[in-house]
């Protein structure tokens, strides 16, 4: 390949804290790796595990789920639900053979533009070092034989 590998990282971030934090990073002219694709959801508790699996299936090299700090949730405890689901999801994703560094949960408040920048840069570097996930190839199901029997 002539062009170096650039990871694609899907960030599922909550509307109230992390998205505002990313916005702060932007309006403050902080620089961060352009490898992230932000998907805004109302709450990190809205992030169904199937969103994460779909991202991996559809070509994401990493997935970052980010929401308000525990105690700060706009919906009182949505982020706690994300937090409770995460360890099992992490374990299950590892059982599929996806490296644990490709999936991350972070609490980033609206005032933490710098944290957003740090997390995104860290994760981009980690995933870049791992290389492409390329799930469709890694778990490719070949064509069935025309004549079987």
């Amino acid at each position: 390949m002539s062009t170096p590998f650039e990871p694609r990282i899907v960030v599922l971030c909550c509307n109230w804290c992390t998205y505002a934090g990313a916005d702060l990073a932007g309006t403050s002219r902080m620089k961060y790796a352009p490898n992230v694709r932000l998907v805004r959801v109302m709450c990190s508790g809205r992030v169904d595990p199937s969103f994460v699996l779909r991202a991996f299936q559809d070509g994401a090299d990493g997935v970052l789920v980010a929401g308000c700090h525990p105690g700060d949730c706009h919906y009182i405890n949505g982020n706690l639900k994300a937090m409770r689901r995460f360890p099992a999801l992490e374990k299950m994703v590892a059982q599929f053979g996806i490296e644990p560094q490709r999936l991350r949960l972070e609490w980033i408040s609206a005032a933490e533009g710098d944290v957003f920048v740090r997390v995104v840069n860290e994760m981009t570097a980690q995933v870049r070092a791992l290389g492409a996930l390329d799930w469709r190839r890694r778990a490719a199901v070949g064509p069935l034989p025309e004549h079987a029997g």
Binding site: P49, S50, A88, M92, A139
Partner: protein, 327 residues
């Protein structure tokens, strides 16, 4: 049981088994004396578990000669694929019968591995294997008497609808007698639902379960069934058993929870579900009693095998479909 078909001809029925355990065939017999009603309206043309037959018999049928095929078992070798395609041609209506045909079922968990590693285990290092030469089955073997041929084992396990078009799904491991009779009645009377339908409930197993559920359930810790004394009245999930009821299609009558066993998810994903495993994971782990990350981690770690638990019957039809190949 409905009347015989209007033209006086009996319903032509075929049953076949692929990668399955035989439980689905037993389930057909499990309808007890109603099997006689089935025999009254249907000619059973093919049923390998009960009757002698040869592949050339199947090949000799005209295309579309058979009305309905109840196909149980997943597809994981070339013989099963051949029969699935052959029966598709010979049968007007194809029914994926049981969890293996519908979703891959228990054999579908082999999608955690591939042919090479499965052969290494089965013919290599399981406790009961003695195979010093490391012999593995070959599809073709020359012997003095001629050429021997056995089916080719695939790298993946497929649900039936991943290899041929399927009209109806009758889930269950195995389908309960009631589910079988609902399906048979629908077929015999011609009152068939729209193509693509699953002949089972539309609500979750929890909806049919008679156990007491609290308004704000909390799971204190996850257990395996043998580790605790199960309260006979209380919701199994609230007792920390990984009951799949909330993410599993009903229609079974909640048989397992009724006898203190957590639902294992054999009726498959709920209607319109994207991924059965993700649904179950979300439903179960969202209610663990943990208010900080350490507690959440401790309780999450108590789930010994999340993939095997949440995708026990559905791995081949799940979003990620299989684990990464090992080579």
């Amino acid at each position: 049981m409905g009347e015989e078909k209007k033209n006086g001809k009996k319903l032509q029925l075929a049953m076949y088994w692929a990668a399955s355990c035989g439980g689905c065939d037993m389930a057909v017999l499990d309808v007890n004396e109603k099997i006689l009603d089935i025999a009254a309206v249907a000619d059973i043309r093919l049923w390998p578990i009960a009757m002698d037959y040869k592949y050339k018999d199947v090949e000799s049928w005209a295309d579309g000669e058979i009305d309905v095929c109840l196909f149980n078992g997943a597809v994981r070798n070339s013989e099963q694929l051949h029969l699935a395609r052959l029966l598709r041609r010979k049968c007007k209506v194809m029914v994926a019968f049981g969890s293996c045909a519908s979703f891959g079922g228990i054999p579908g968990l082999a999608n955690l591995h591939c042919k090479k590693t499965i052969f290494e285990a089965v013919y290599g290092y399981t406790a009961s294997t003695v195979n010093p030469e490391g012999t593995t089955p070959q599809t073709h073997t020359k012997v003095p008497e001629g050429d021997l041929h056995i089916p080719d084992f695939f790298d993946d396990v497929y649900s039936l609808n991943q290899v041929i078009p399927v009209e109806y799904y009758v889930p269950g491991c195995p389908p309960t007698p009631d589910t079988v009779m609902v399906a048979v009645n629908a077929i015999a009377t011609g009152n068939l639902p729209p193509v693509g339908s699953t002949i089972a409930g539309d609500k979750a197993v929890c909806d049919e379960c008679l156990r007491t559920k609290s308004d704000k359930p909390k799971i204190q810790a996850f257990h395996r069934p043998q580790e605790i004394f199960v309260d006979a009245e209380k919701c199994l999930l609230e007792q920390g058993l990984t009951c799949m009821g909330s993410a599993t299609r009903g229609g079974c009558g909640s048989l397992c929870p009724a006898v203190n066993m957590p639902c294992r998810g054999c009726y498959g994903p709920m209607p319109r579900s994207l991924d059965a495993g993700a649904d179950a994971l979300a439903a179960m782990t969202s209610i663990v009693d943990a208010s900080d990350e350490q507690a959440a981690r401790t309780k999450g770690d108590q789930l010994v095998d999340p993939l095997g638990t949440f995708y026990r019957f559905t791995l081949p039809v799940s979003m990620l479909r299989r684990a990464q190949r090992e080579h």
